[in-house]
Amino acid sequence: MFKKILIANRGEIGVRVIRACRELGILSVAVYSEVDRLSPHVLNADEAYPIGAASATESYLNGERILDVAKRCGADALHPGYGFLSENAKFAQACTDAGLKFIGPSAASMEMMGSKTRARQEMEKAGVRFVPGTSRALESVRQAKEVAAQIGYPVMLKAAAGGGGKGMRLVTSAQELQPALEASQGEAQRAFGDGEVYLEKAILNPRHIEMQILADERGNTVYLGERECSIQRRHQKVLEEAPSPLVDSEMRRQMGEVALRVAKAAGYSNAGTIEFLVDQEKNFYFLEMNTRLQVEHPVTELITGLDLVEWQIRIAAGEELPFQQKDVLIRGHAMECRIYAEDPDNNYFPSPGKVTMLLTPAGPGIRLDSGVYEGWTVPIDYDPLLAKLVGYGQDRAQAVSRLVRALDEFFVAGIKTNLGLFRRILAEEDFLSGNVDTGYLERLLGGAEPARSESSAREGAASLAAIAAAVFAALDATPKAVTNAAVSRDSASNQGEGAADAGVSGWKRAARLEGLR
């Protein structure tokens, strides 16, 4: 087993990996940029080393610097988390070359599945059904028009080198194709340094359902159930759940077996996720494979009882999976809210800044994977994910009611967050009946604003707010000793003057004490 693992990441996932290391008795090493000196992953690690200026390219994406730290501190393994260098085949190879075990798949599988066009070619070979379209980069507008005419509009243009919505364009007719293709290629070039674009049939209102797999380095591979990730805004997931309300055990078995075929075709080891698009007829099509741990892994952990990060580490250390597919049991239902520092009144624009107050939920069925704490300043330089709030219950309804209760306990001041969005989603009819697709959230946000609380209720609350505002102001102006809290403390403690002084001005009390000295 490893003695020391360097975590090449930050924020909530940095903390997540550190926790797994702690539980396994492994020393954890954090790396931090200039703005992350007080980040929770640094505060919680056994060792910490600075790696450069705030910008990701200078720090968390700087493979050379990170490997240098690994060498200096004597780490024997590296966990890349998600994002940053986690799907960078060159970096994975550089780790191997430096004698550092990369906790994840081989550079070769990463390379194969990392390029969306290459992945499609391999899936074609493996006989895996995927969304009809091109498996190679589009060479010309003419070719694009030919393929599009063949598969039928609407079609989706996509970047081969990456995701997150960059380089994606929906094209509904032949006239739109040329300008869309040019825009798509330009965007892909700027975002990934690779302008390769391919084309797929656009499935109307698909559901995004992904399958988690785990493979050791001895060829044993299992699937751990699916996750429903259709609640997205601009192709970024916002709320995920496991299992999917659409998937029954037979469909799970079928999707799981396709996922295993994909993993084997890729020679895959460690944790990975196969993404599918599911149409209205429940047909599922291979979309792509993510060759890393995903943000939403907690929902799978909760329904299977397995610690995925722990298994990632064990697999990388050469251990064989001690369980088989038949031993993987799914129990209960889990749902995750991604809490972002975003301004919902301003198009979800990132809202970095100092967290002046943070009240977090707890209690039955609530898990919080957080990357913030009260008093910390959320930097602008990275993805503004603050925390993942996960609700778990014996069924979907209980998971929802626990999450709703937890959201009521959750309070953040100092920055704007998307907390209010989850209250809306978790009260909405279609969501509650499991009737979602990838267009769901845009429709909800584009629709009518929710009715404000009943005007009489809000009026009553406004009166209370007025009273509270005045009380706060009165307390601001008063010397500390006269606050009610101090008063009740003093009455209870019975020191010297004791109860008789309750309610007396602090000045008078101090004067009395002085006089009696």
Binding site: D343, L464, A468, A469, N484
Partner: protein, 166 residues
């Protein structure tokens, strides 16, 4: 009794408060209200009113206060006629004038309205570009644009004043 003039979401209220026997005596707009209010921690007030318990938080938002009751928030301005402190806390340019500040570092792309225009609360005043996205900064209140403080093309930092609306 100390008198406070409190404006909640634009509506004015008159609050009379005094400490009494370990608690508060309170009159809201002339009406006597019985409250038990204790500060649990800075900016967190536990209020019990007619038996109902309310955890009420206070948040500073630019030059304003926001009072949170559950998931609803209310903008609050408190003026204590007796002390200067209430007024000094807000960097004001005169009665009712409000500053429009940049929420993050960026560049002023263009102004959407000119000086002396009348604007509604929430109306876009200036567009600031930051992190490759354009962000419309909105007026905090209904009023008149007194002054556009920065020029188009200027680089701004978080907290820099962009305009003043009265």
């Amino acid at each position: 009794m100390t008198v406070y003039n409190v404006t909640i979401d634009g509506t004015e209220h008159r609050l009379e408060l005094e400490t009494a026997a370990g608690g508060w005596r309170c009159r809201l707009d002339g009406r006597e209200v019985e409250i038990n209010a204790v500060l649990a921690r800075p900016d967190f007030l536990s209020v019990i009113m007619e038996g109902k318990a309310y955890p009420i938080k206070r948040e500073r938002v630019e030059a304003d206060w926001r009072i949170w009751i559950g998931d609803q928030s209310y903008t609050a301005e408190v003026r204590d006629p007796r002390s200067l402190r209430g007024r000094k806390q807000r960097p004001d340019h005169g009665q009712g004038a409000r500053q429009l500040v940049a929420p993050m570092p960026g560049k002023v792309v263009r102004f959407l309205v000119g000086e002396n225009s009348t604007v509604e609360a929430g109306q876009g005043i200036v567009v600031v570009e930051a992190m490759k996205m354009q962000n419309e900064i909105k007026s905090p209140k209904k009023g008149i644009v007194l002054k556009l403080v920065v020029a188009e093309g200027a680089a701004v930092n978080a907290g820099d004043v962009l305009a003043i609306v009265e």
